[in-house]
C-alpha cells in the first residue's frame, strides 16, 4: 500500500473548528464573508468549499454556521471543550462527540 505522508512548515494547531459538507456546500463563500477573523479563504476552485486557513484564530462566534444558506457548515468544538450531561431519570451520561449519540433534539428555539 502506498501511504502518503507529508509535512508542512510551521503548521498551525490542527483543530478542526469548522466542518463543511461538500454535498451541501455551493461555494457561495457567505461564511468567508461573515467571518470577522478571516479564518477561511475562498477555494481557488470556484464552487468548492472554502478552506480554513487559520482555524486557530476562531472565536467560535458561530456566525458562519448560522448564516450558511444550505446549513453545510457546522462549528465543531475541540475535544478539550466538549461537555457532557446526565439524563435525570436514568442517570445515563452523554457527551458531545460520543460514538453512539442519542437521537438529535429537533425542537427549534424561540
Amino acid at each position: 500500500m502506498d501511504y502518503k505522508a507529508y509535512m508542512v512548515p510551521n503548521p498551525m494547531t490542527p483543530g478542526q473548528v469548522v466542518s463543511i459538507d461538500p454535498e451541501l456546500c455551493t461555494g457561495c463563500n457567505t461564511c468567508v464573508e461573515v467571518c470577522r477573523l478571516d479564518v477561511m479563504v475562498p477555494n481557488p476552485e470556484k464552487g468548492k468549499p472554502p478552506i480554513a486557513i487559520y482555524p486557530d484564530e476562531c472565536w467560535f462566534c458561530g456566525c458562519c454556521a448560522s448564516d450558511c444558506p444550505t446549513k453545510a457548515l457546522k462549528i465543531e468544538y475541540p475535544l478539550n471543550q466538549r461537555v457532557g450531561w446526565k439524563r435525570k431519570d436514568t442517570g445515563e451520561y452523554f457527551r458531545i462527540g460520543m460514538k453512539n449519540p442519542p437521537p438529535p433534539n429537533t425542537r427549534p428555539p424561540v
Binding site: 477573523l37 478571516d38 468548492k48 486557513i53 428555539p109
Partner: protein, 662 residues
C-alpha cells in the same frame, strides 16, 4: 484537495497591492462598526450626515455583540419599570456604584438609564422581535401581558429586558445602515487618527487604514470621527482555538487599535491601571455559557450535586429561598436588586447560590461534579434559559444547535458543571476555568476620557461603546453609539473639511508597512503575541511594584527594537496581526505607565501595589488620566465624579438636558 494544499504553499487568494492609496471622504467617520459603531452610524445618518464606517471584520456580524444578545440592561423607562433613571442613578451614586462597580462612569450610566429602552424600540423598528410576539411565554411571571415584554432578574422592578431575536440584531442594524446610505468599508483595520497640521493634540480630521486582505492603504478624511473600536483585549493571554478562544467574551479583533490611535493623536485616557481579571479568562476555558452554570444567561438555574442534592439559593441577607419564584424578587425591605452579590453593594445585591459553596464542597457536603438541573426548573424558566436566552446570546446559538444535534434535551438532561478546585465555585460563570488570568481585562476598564457630549479630549473626536473608559455591555454600547452619532453629526455641520497633512500620512505608511521589509530570519506574529502576553503576566499582572513595572517598560522597549522589528509576514492578514501586536505593545506601555502613577493599592480597582500596600487611602480616591503631550507622558487627575462638577451642572438631569442633542 488535501494534495493541492500540501504539495505547495498556496497563493494568497486576494489581489495584493501594498501601498496603493484609496481616499474616502465623510462628514462622520465611524471607526469600528460593532454595536456602538452601527448605532452611531445610523443616528448620524438620520441627522443627514454622510457617514462612513470602517471595520476590521464584516459589519454585518462584527464586534462583541455581533453574534447576538440576550439581555437589554437598565431599560428604566420601559412601561413596566418601577425604577426611574433618577432613582437608579441616585442609588448607584449613594453607594459609590455606577453600573457594576466603583470608579465607574455616571454619565454613561445615566444616559443608559434614559435611553436604553428607546434604543431597544429602535431595534424593534429595524425588525428584531424583542417581545414575546408568538405568545410562547403567556402566563410566565417574567412576561407582561399588555406589552409582551419579557424581563430578567428582578420581576418586580422590570428594568432588564430579555431580547427575543437578539441573535440577528447585527444583521438588522447592518441592513438599516444600508438603507440609510451609510458607506461601509469592511476588512479595513484602522491604524491611525489624522490631525490638523499633523500635530499631536490637534483636532481630529480623519484616519488611516489597512485592508487586511489586499494590503491597500486607506486615507479617510472626515469632519467628525466616532471612535468605537472596543476595549483592548487579549494582552495577558493569547487564546487559540484549543486554549480558550471559545471562552473569550470580547471579539478578538478588539486588539486596542482605537486606544493606541487615540493615544498617539494625543487623546487623554483614564483608568488604564484598573485591574480585575475578566471572568471570561480564556485560559483553558470551555465555550461561554456552554457548561452547567447559574450566571447571567443561565440565571437562577437549579444546581445539584452528583447525588442530586440541590445547592440552595439565598437572598442578599443570606436567608435560604424556599421557592424558585423568590430568586426573581427583591428581598423584604429591598427596593430592587441589581444582580447576584458580585457587583455593587449589599444594598442592591440579589439572590445567589450559597456564598460558602466552596467550603461546603471541601467538607464533602456537596459532591462534585455539579449539574445544571434544567428539568428541575419550571417549564417557562427552562424554556426561557435554553430556548430563548441561549439561542440569542452572543456565540451561544451554536451551543443550542450543537448540543441538541448531539441529543441534549433540557426537559430531560442536566448539563454538567466542569470540575474545578472548590474555591473556583464562588462566581457562577463556571466555563472560564482557571489558571493565568487576563489581568486588567474586565468590562468597565480603562479607555478614552469623555464629557457630556461623549466627546473625547480632542476636538472632532467622539467616543462610544467599550472604547470609552468604564463602559461595557451591549445596551451601554448601543446607547452611547446612538448618542455619540447624533452629536458627531451635529458637530460635523459646524466645521469645514480640513487638509490632510501629507507628512503625517507618509510617516504612518512607513510604520504600517515596515514589517514587510523584514526578512525570513525573524519570528512569526504568533510567537511575538505569546511573548507579549508573558511580559504582561510577569510585569503588570496581579501584584505590582515600581521595579517590576519599570522592568516591564524596559522589556517592551527592548522587544520593539528586537523581535518586533524582525517579524516576517507572508500576506496582508499576517501584516495586520503583526500590527495588532505593535498596538498591544503600546497599550501595554500605557497600562504600565498608568500603574506607576497610582501610588496606592485599591480594592475597588483590584489594584495591588506591593510598594504601596495601603488600600484605598482617601487622597487616592480620584481618577487618574494619562496622555501624550508633544511626545511626553503627561499625567492628570480628576475628581471621581468630575461630570457633576464645574464646568458641568451639579445634577444628572440638568447635564443630560443641556447636552443630549435630541
Amino acid at each position: 484537495m488535501v494534495e493541492a494544499i500540501y504539495n505547495r504553499a498556496m497563493k494568497w487568494p486576494y489581489p495584493v497591492n501594498y501601498g496603493k492609496e484609496n481616499e474616502v471622504e465623510a462628514d462622520v467617520l465611524v471607526v469600528g462598526g460593532g454595536i456602538a459603531g452601527c448605532h452611531a452610524a445610523i443616528n448620524a445618518a438620520r441627522k443627514g450626515a454622510k457617514v462612513v464606517v470602517v471595520d476590521k471584520g464584516a459589519v454585518v456580524r462584527s464586534g462583541s455583540g455581533g453574534a447576538g444578545v440576550d439581555h437589554w440592561h437598565l431599560a428604566c423607562t420601559n412601561p413596566c419599570s418601577k425604577v426611574t433613571p433618577e432613582e437608579m442613578i441616585e442609588v448607584m451614586k449613594a453607594f459609590g456604584d455606577y453600573d457594576y462597580g466603583e470608579f465607574g462612569n455616571g454619565m454613561a450610566c445615566y444616559i443608559l438609564c434614559k435611553e436604553s429602552y428607546d434604543t431597544l424600540l429602535d431595534i424593534e423598528k429595524m425588525g428584531v422581535k424583542v417581545r414575546d410576539v408568538d405568545d410562547e411565554f403567556k402566563g410566565a411571571p417574567f412576561r407582561d401581558e399588555k406589552t409582551k415584554l419579557m424581563f430578567a432578574y428582578d420581576y418586580v422592578n422590570n428594568y432588564c429586558i430579555r431580547v427575543n431575536g437578539g441573535a440577528d440584531i447585527k444583521v438588522a442594524m447592518y441592513n438599516e445602515c444600508q438603507r440609510l446610505g451609510v458607506k461601509i468599508y469592511d476588512r479595513i483595520m484602522a491604524t491611525s487618527l489624522l490631525t490638523e497640521g499633523g500635530k499631536q493634540g490637534a483636532r481630529v480630521i480623519g484616519a488611516t487604514g489597512l485592508n487586511v486582505r489586499t494590503g491597500e492603504f486607506y486615507i479617510f478624511r472626515s469632519k467628525a470621527t466616532v471612535l468605537s473600536a472596543g476595549q483592548p483585549s487579549g494582552l495577558w493571554i493569547f487564546s487559540t482555538e484549543l486554549k480558550g478562544g471559545a471562552a473569550l467574551f470580547m471579539d478578538p479583533n478588539n486588539s486596542g487599535e482605537g486606544t493606541a490611535m487615540a493615544w498617539r493623536a494625543g487623546a487623554e485616557l483614564a483608568l488604564m491601571e484598573r485591574g480585575g481579571a475578566g471572568y471570561t479568562s480564556g485560559g483553558f476555558g470551555y465555550p461561554q455559557y456552554g457548561v452547567g452554570n447559574a450566571h447571567n444567561t443561565w440565571y437562577a438555574c437549579k444546581i445539584v450535586d452528583a447525588n442530586g442534592k440541590e445547592i440552595p439559593w439565598v437572598d442578599r441577607d443570606g436567608k435560604i429561598l424556599k421557592t424558585v419564584e423568590e430568586r426573581y424578587l427583591p428581598a423584604p425591605g429591598q427596593k430592587y436588586f441589581y444582580y447576584g452579590r458580585y457587583s455593587g453593594s449589599p444594598e442592591v445585591w440579589g439572590p445567589s447560590l450559597i456564598p460558602d459553596l466552596p467550603e461546603r464542597i471541601m467538607k464533602g457536603e456537596y459532591v462534585l461534579p455539579l449539574y445544571a438541573d434544567l428539568p428541575g426548573m419550571p417549564d417557562y424558566e427552562r424554556r426561557a434559559i435554553w430556548g430563548l436566552m441561549i439561542p440569542h446570546e452572543g456565540k451561544c446559538r451554536i451551543i443550542y444547535d450543537n448540543y441538541q444535534r448531539a441529543g441534549f434535551d433540557p426537559d430531560k438532561d442536566m448539563l454538567q458543571v466542569i470540575v474545578m478546585p472548590p474555591d473556583k465555585y464562588t462566581y457562577a460563570a463556571w466555563w472560564a476555568a482557571f489558571g493565568a488570568r487576563q489581568w486588567r481585562e474586565r468590562v468597565h476598564g480603562g479607555g478614552l476620557l469623555f464629557d457630556w457630549d461623549l466627546k473625547a479630549s480632542l476636538d472632532g473626536l467622539y467616543v462610544a461603546g467599550c472604547q470609552a473608559y468604564c463602559c461595557a455591555d451591549h445596551a451601554s454600547s448601543a446607547v452611547t453609539g446612538r448618542y455619540a452619532g447624533r452629536k458627531a453629526a451635529r458637530y460635523s455641520q459646524t466645521v469645514k473639511k480640513s487638509v490632510i497633512d501629507r507628512q503625517q500620512v507618509d510617516a504612518e505608511k512607513t510604520r504600517v508597512y515596515s514589517p514587510l521589509q523584514q526578512g525570513e530570519g525573524g519570528i512569526g506574529w504568533k510567537e511575538l503575541r505569546g511573548g507579549l502576553a508573558r511580559i504582561m503576566q510577569d510585569y503588570v499582572g496581579e501584584y505590582l511594584n515600581e521595579e517590576t513595572l519599570k522592568m516591564g517598560l524596559t522589556w517592551l522597549n527592548s522587544i520593539k527594537e528586537s523581535e518586533a522589528s524582525s517579524v516576517y509576514v507572508r500576506n496582508p492578514h499576517e501584516l495586520a496581526r503583526t500590527l495588532e501586536c505593535l498596538t498591544r505593545i503600546t497599550v501595554g506601555e500605557i497600562t504600565m505607565q498608568a500603574s506607576l502613577a497610582r501610588k496606592a493599592s485599591s480594592r475597588e480597582l483590584s489594584f495591588n501595589r506591593l510598594d504601596y500596600p495601603e488600600v484605598d487611602p482617601p487622597e487616592w480616591n480620584k481618577l487618574l488620566t494619562i496622555k501624550l503631550d508633544n511626545g511626553n507622558i503627561k499625567l492628570g487627575e480628576l475628581p471621581n465624579d468630575y461630570w457633576l462638577k464645574p464646568p458641568y451642572a451639579p445634577t444628572y438631569e440638568e447635564n443630560y438636558r443641556k447636552h443630549n442633542g435630541l
